[in-house]
């Protein structure tokens, strides 16, 4: 069950940059402004920064934790080593559910955008079917192909969508930043907690860690990816603050998409259609990585071939998408995932680290005694 992964399936350490960044930035980047600015107003950018720094700490913690794992393994083998087959198995099963939930949430949230902005009449199931078929094809290629998709998912949107964000600066009101430091620390913390979902994504690292060549050396790239994510969110929130006023944002579901309506060129208008289309490339890596991670958990846990479990998992996801049609349901789903992810990354991983750390100490002490 646990043999070392052959070298030709591994990816270079610096590719972690693309994988982590691609999985972090998702549909949330289109609509994170509203809850954030409700709590922290014009100081929202501080919350973005705070949440990002917290993510840095958690990434550091994760690398420390995984380096304790037997022979550079993943979280599942760590669970088994420290908690035994049954308790560890239950914990790993929770991880599997979380990954599946993450894929479902991202897929649902994006399809919701398609439904509202582009195709109100075409059945949503067509899009989820297309997504899942493409996911099937990608995951079948292995982690290298999935990581390759992450590279495209970063490079192409960065070259096409990102420049569009700067057009609204023409109408910027820089006074919107004032008064600065107008919100209490408690409000900022609350806002930063809202921001948590936007930074989630690096928890997939818990599964693909053994697929990295010289995994410990990839840590700097992981931090660089997180720093870049902070940068992207900061740019978006800055532009949103200077372009909208506080009351405006409160009435908007997807402020970033509305920003995309502003650019004008002689031959094309309404750029938000382009943004939404290209956003497939942003959303898709998240789905593939989490589906890949979920099937990987299944393989480690139940010794079922990924080739077998993949179609079953995708079918479950497809059925899942049929159940969440209403906007309120989707919002509740997003909330759950955010909560689950938050507790996984911010509570469970630190606790686990403390446990593993003390366990190591105790073991060492016991060995030295006799």
């Amino acid at each position: 069950m646990k043999q070392a992964i052959q070298e030709r399936f591994l990816i270079s350490p610096f590719l972690v940059f693309f994988v982590i960044h691609a999985t972090q930035v998702g549909v949330g980047a289109l609509n994170f402004q509203r809850p954030l600015m409700k709590e922290a107003g014009q100081d929202a950018w501080m919350a973005v920064l705070m949440a990002g720094l917290a993510a840095h700490v958690l990434i550091w913690l994760m690398y420390r934790l995984l380096s304790h794992s037997p022979s550079g393994g993943d979280l599942v083998s760590l669970h088994e080593q420290y908690f035994g087959r049954w308790i560890g198995g239950v914990l790993s099963f929770g991880l599997l559910l979380y990954y599946a939930l993450a894929a479902l949430t991202v897929l649902q949230a994006y399809i919701e955008i398609i439904k509202v902005w582009v195709f109100p009449l075409i059945g949503a199931w067509q899009f989820s079917l297309m997504f899942l078929l493409l996911t099937y094809y990608a995951v079948l290629g292995g982690f290298r192909v999935v990581a390759g998709l992450c590279v495209w998912g970063v490079v192409i949107p960065l070259a096409t969508i990102f420049p569009m964000l700067f057009f609204p600066l023409e109408y910027a009101q820089y006074r919107n930043f004032l008064p600065m430091f107008d919100h209490s620390f408690g409000q900022l913390i609350k806002a930063a907690k809202h921001m948590a979902l936007q930074y989630l994504g690096f928890e997939m690292l818990l599964m693909y860690y053994p697929f990295l060549k010289q995994a410990p050396s990839s840590q700097k790239w992981a931090h660089a990816a997180n720093a870049f994510t902070i940068f992207i969110y900061l740019v978006v929130i800055f532009i949103s603050i200077v372009f909208y006023n506080k009351e405006q944002v409160a009435h908007m579901t997807w402020p970033t998409l509305t920003l995309a309506k502003i650019p004008e060129v002689p031959f094309i208008e309404r750029m938000e259609y382009i943004v939404i289309s290209i956003y497939v490339l942003v959303v898709f890596p998240i789905i593939t990585v989490s589906v890949w991670a979920a099937t990987r958990v299944i393989k480690q846990l139940f010794a079922v071939q990924q080739r077998r479990s993949l179609p079953v998992l995708l079918a479950c996801l497809f059925v899942g998408t049929l159940f969440f049609q209403e906007k309120t349901d989707i919002e509740r789903l997003t909330e759950w995932t955010a909560k689950a992810g938050f507790y996984l990354v911010a509570v469970y991983v630190p606790l686990l680290y403390v446990y593993v750390w003390t366990a190591e100490k105790v073991k060492k002490a016991l060995q030295q005694k006799p």
């Binding site: 270079s12 195709f119 998709l149 259609y273 382009i274």
Partner: protein
């Protein structure tokens, strides 16, 4: 397979078979000639295929010397014929299978009465008979640069390569492929540059090929491919010598095959298919410019008509007011939805291209004019398509022909049909779905075990010097490292980079 097993069985059985039985089999054919005569008390027989040997060589080199010189050496044996007959590498064999193979390749077999189970084999093959002597590389034309291309004769091709690669490290490895055709296939590489793993992979794959007749390198291409279910060519096939030599010095392996004027180059990455030798003959600024135009052409060719379909079917809000007028004006008479309109025109252009390729050149030109101008104008007048679409589709077709490798330009023409259908179903999102599918597909492809998307993924910054940009020669001394060549530099990088101060 059945044909092959027959051959295999025969080969196993043949050592026991006497040579006389072999002649019996060959006699069935009317072009098989058997001459027997007595010279100087020696009774000798000569066997050959009339259709394969060069009569001049046969008469002047073989018959003449046998008849004149044997009487002077009364004790001559088959093994001593090399001293008499001025033909290189005379071989004496008892193996009927070998004799059969050689005679079928244009060798002359000589036997003595006294040594009935042996034959001396002398090459008298008319190598160039019926083959082209030269090839102007018209299918991969470049204005600047040499025009000589490979020809069907593999011997000539090897000569052409060795003339430019003057190093003892250039290795040719020969093998015979095809149970019926016994085609001579040559693997060429530069020892110490090409990665031995690649050479081994190529050799192994070639050795494991089971096929009857190798008509062309294109067949080897398909049999060697890592993935046979892809429309993308995984190896470059070129008829240009400069291209093959360039591949050799950058550490790739070239496969040549008798009877084919194309050389197969692998492992190839997707970018190799969009570079033209001419990029290297022009100053690097121009080379880069034309290369970028070519890349733009590819993207435009794939995306232009799908975007037209997507925008006009679903996202008409995206058209600015000023542009709306002309589009409405030209589309007001068209009774079809945009996707039918696009498919109609795309298929028309495909028909024109296919007809032009199958017809003799002179007729094809006429057809191009009739088809291109008359049909185009008439469809617009009849209200079947809009003028704007006609421009888009014609430009896209034009752009797809800028790809220097024919196989790749075919692929590009093919993949836009799925794109059009995706655009017709799901608009802009459908196009990006198709892009995603394409990227995954390309990410999964490999050429001789090397990722197809190199140097893009896995990302190799250094190798970008010669992808989008054709850097000046002072920068390109390093071989593309993604091929993992054994030696790193093509020429001394420091000599090329030497900088002088002003006025010095």
């Amino acid at each position: 397979m059945g044909l092959f097993s027959f051959w295999k069985k025969k080969k196993k059985r043949s050592p026991q078979r006497p040579i006389s039985q072999l002649w019996e089999t060959l006699r069935q054919s009317s072009d098989f000639v058997e001459l027997s005569f007595i010279v100087g008390g020696k009774e000798l027989s000569i066997y050959y295929f009339d259709s394969l040997v060069d009569p001049q060589v046969l008469q002047e080199r073989i018959l003449c010397h046998l008849q004149n010189d044997i009487p002077k050496h009364p004790t001559v044996r088959l093994e001593d014929l090399q001293q008499i007959v001025p033909i290189q590498r005379i071989e004496v064999s008892e193996d009927a299978a070998l004799i059969e193979e050689k005679v079928l390749k244009g060798f002359v077999a000589v036997t003595f009465r006294g040594q009935p189970n042996k034959a001396a084999l002398m090459s008298a093959a008319a190598e160039n008979l019926g083959l082209r002597e030269n090839n102007d590389s018209e299918n991969e034309f470049s204005v600047v640069g040499p025009k000589v291309g490979f020809v069907e004769n593999v011997g000539v091709n090897l000569h052409l390569i060795r003339r430019q690669v003057v190093t003892p490290n250039l290795v040719f490895r020969e093998m015979s492929i095809g149970s019926v055709s016994k085609t001579k296939v040559v693997i060429a590489y530069i020892d110490g540059v090409a990665n031995p793993e690649v050479v081994q992979t190529v050799t192994q794959r070639l050795e494991s090929i089971r096929f009857d007749v190798v008509f062309d390198n294109a067949i080897l291409d398909q049999l060697l491919a890592d993935n046979s279910r892809t429309p993308f060519p995984l190896f470059i096939s070129t008829e240009r010598i400069d291209r093959a030599v360039y591949a050799l010095i950058s550490g790739q392996v070239v496969v040549l095959c008798d009877g084919s004027p194309y050389a197969l180059v692998g492992p190839s990455a997707i970018f190799d298919f969009f570079t033209s030798p001419e990029d290297y003959y022009l100053p690097w600024v121009l080379g880069t410019f034309f290369r970028l135009i070519r890349f733009f052409g590819v993207v435009f060719s794939v995306l232009a008509s799908p975007i037209y379909v997507a925008v006009l079917t679903y996202h008409y809000e995206m058209i600015p007011e000023d542009l709306l007028g002309p589009i409405i004006y030209s589309r007001s008479n068209v009774p079809f939805p945009p996707v039918l309109e696009v498919l109609f025109l795309e298929i028309t252009i495909e028909l024109l291209r296919e007809a032009g390729a199958r017809l003799p050149t002179k007729v094809a030109q006429t057809l191009g004019i009739v088809g291109g101008i008359v049909i185009g104008q008439a469809t617009v007048d009849a209200g079947l398509t809009s003028t704007i679409l006609l421009i888009v589709v014609a430009l896209a077709a034009l752009a797809s022909f800028t790809t220097p490798i024919f196989k790749m330009s075919n692929t590009i023409r093919f993949i836009r049909f799925p794109f059009i259908l995706f655009a017709a179903f799901w608009g802009g999102i459908g196009i990006i779905f198709a892009v995603c599918g394409l990227l995954i597909h390309l990410g999964r492809l490999q050429s001789f075990g090397y990722p197809y998307l190199l140097p893009f993924y896995p990302f190799r910054v250094r190798s970008f010097r010669d992808t989008f940009i054709r850097s000046p020669y002072s920068e390109t001394a390093e071989r593309p490292m993604f091929l993992r060549p054994r030696s790193r530099f093509r020429y001394d990088p420091n000599a090329a980079k030497q900088k002088r101060d002003i006025d010095e």
